[in-house]
Amino acid sequence: MALSIHQQICRSFSQRVGTSTCQSCQFSTSQTLHEVRKLMRMRIVDNSAIGKAAAQIGKPPKVIHVYNKRQVGFLGDKVLVTVKGEMKKAYIVGLRQKQLPNVPRMDTNNIVLVDDKGDPLGTRVMVPIPSALRGKGGDLTKILSLATKFV
């Protein structure tokens, strides 16, 4: 009688399986948003030498600045990343975040490295790029010319 019904049921289940404890979480949590913020690890999807080297070593690039008022990156935003000890600029071409209707969501956060002028460091982009980036213009047009496939 001292135990609540929940505890009794859990107890019986645990007796069958062979473990114990019954504590509930006191904190409220939101779902994971997968937002691009500082110190986030990204994946380089072009065939630049630095990108390939970083992938081989196993040290992915980390975002250290987002060129955005809100400091949260979206598709097509410019970011500053550290790759193998160097600081490079990059553009976001794919996000793991939940997107608007008709905009694709990728399984990895993809970036394409770019130099200070805005020219991409690689020569090809191997993964599909969202078609929604085509209307944005600016430096993205140079990146989109490297793309093989649009989704």
Binding site: I9, C10, T21, P101, N102, V103, D107, V127, P128
Partner: protein, 330 residues
């Protein structure tokens, strides 16, 4: 029993007589027994007044009254909703077109709003074929894209989720393109969507297939040039009993807690088992009110689905039978 009742009545009367001299305060229901004005802010208020002031006030009209006013003979100028009596939908038709079902919260529902929304949905369905599909079906969607060469952007994928009510109805397609898993959410009634085709109509064992994100990529790969698979007319929807193998953890969600049927049995660590136990809700099976409130009453469902079915029959008869229809005639 009778003896105690009489004793109780005597005691009650005694209290009344005792308090009767104070008058109206005899009905006060305050824990602090003092009747002195300084200590009692509700001095001279009857319990009826207190309950009246504290009752939850509603600044909206009760949903039954709304419909009553609409149907009232004193009302003129606004038409009354007609009930559907001619056609009767097949049983469980709500699973074929779930976006027509209203939300189960009966207090916030409005029949006129639902009717108008359904009208809009029927109109959209005359311009575009929105086929019957389920989670696990492989579909192709073509949307308007100003930058694509032929102004169309076509995506093929497996439907991993479906939801939304009314015009907000959506579904999510997943595919693997050039080694990268891609998911796109489409709104069914969005006017920029030009065509929705079902290439392979089938069901899976689960209602959502988000676990495919943590599976090897072969399970989510479907060719963009896939040919539509035709089913005989009036056949039952085939259920794909495929049990998918998950990648080793860590996973995106705690799949072990979700009681999924479409995955192979998992190797549970003690920590996982503890977590499952903690989040078990075995009483939900017995919670009748929970089940009742999560659904729309059967009479309403029949009414709405009959209307939907009637409209569908009308549209089917108007539409020509083309090569792209999924179910061929016998």
């Amino acid at each position: 029993m009778a003896a105690s009742m009489t004793i109780r009545n005597i005691v009650k009367q005694a209290i009344f007589i005792k308090n009767g001299s104070i008058g109206i305060n005899s009905k006060l229901n305050v824990a602090h027994k003092s009747t002195h004005r300084a200590h009692n802010p509700n001095y001279n208020r009857t319990s009826a007044e207190v309950t009246l002031a504290l009752r939850p006030k509603q600044n909206f009209l009760h949903h039954d009254l709304v419909d009553k006013h609409r149907r009232s003979p004193l009302q003129k100028g606004t038409e009354v909703l007609q009930t559907e009596t001619e056609v009767k939908a097949p049983r469980d038709y709500r699973f074929v077109m779930p976006e027509f079902m209203p939300r189960p919260n009966f207090e916030d529902r409005d029949r006129v709003l639902e009717k108008l929304e359904r009208c809009d949905m029927f109109r959209r369905r005359t311009n575009i074929t929105i086929p019957e599909f389920y989670v696990g079906s492989i579909m192709a969607v073509s949307i308007s894209d100003p930058y694509a060469p032929n102004k169309r952007n076509r995506f093929v994928g497996i439907c991993i989720d479906r939801g939304g009510i009314g015009l907000k109805a959506y579904f999510v397609l997943r595919n693997v393109v050039d080694g990268l898993g891609v998911e796109v959410m489409y709104q069914m009634y969005n006017p920029t969507v030009h065509s929705i085709e079902v290439l392979k109509l089938e069901k899976r064992l689960d209602e959502q297939l988000y676990y495919l994100r943590n599976c090897p990529l072969e399970y989510s790969t479907f060719s963009f040039d896939m040919e539509p698979v035709l089913l005989p007319r009036d056949a039952e929807i085939p259920v794909n009993t495929l049990k998918v193998k998950l990648n080793p953890p860590p996973w995106e969600q705690k799949w072990e807690r979700q009681n999924l049927k479409g995955i192979e049995p998992l190797e549970l660590t003690p920590r996982m088992i503890r977590g499952i136990e903690m989040h078990l809700k075995p009483w939900e099976k017995y919670d009748l009110m929970l089940h009742y409130r999560s659904k729309v009453p059967e009479e309403e469902e029949e009414q709405i689905m009959s209307e939907v079915y009637k409209e569908k029959l009308k549209q089917d008869s108007l539409r020509k039978v083309t090569k792209a229809t999924l179910r061929k005639k016998k």
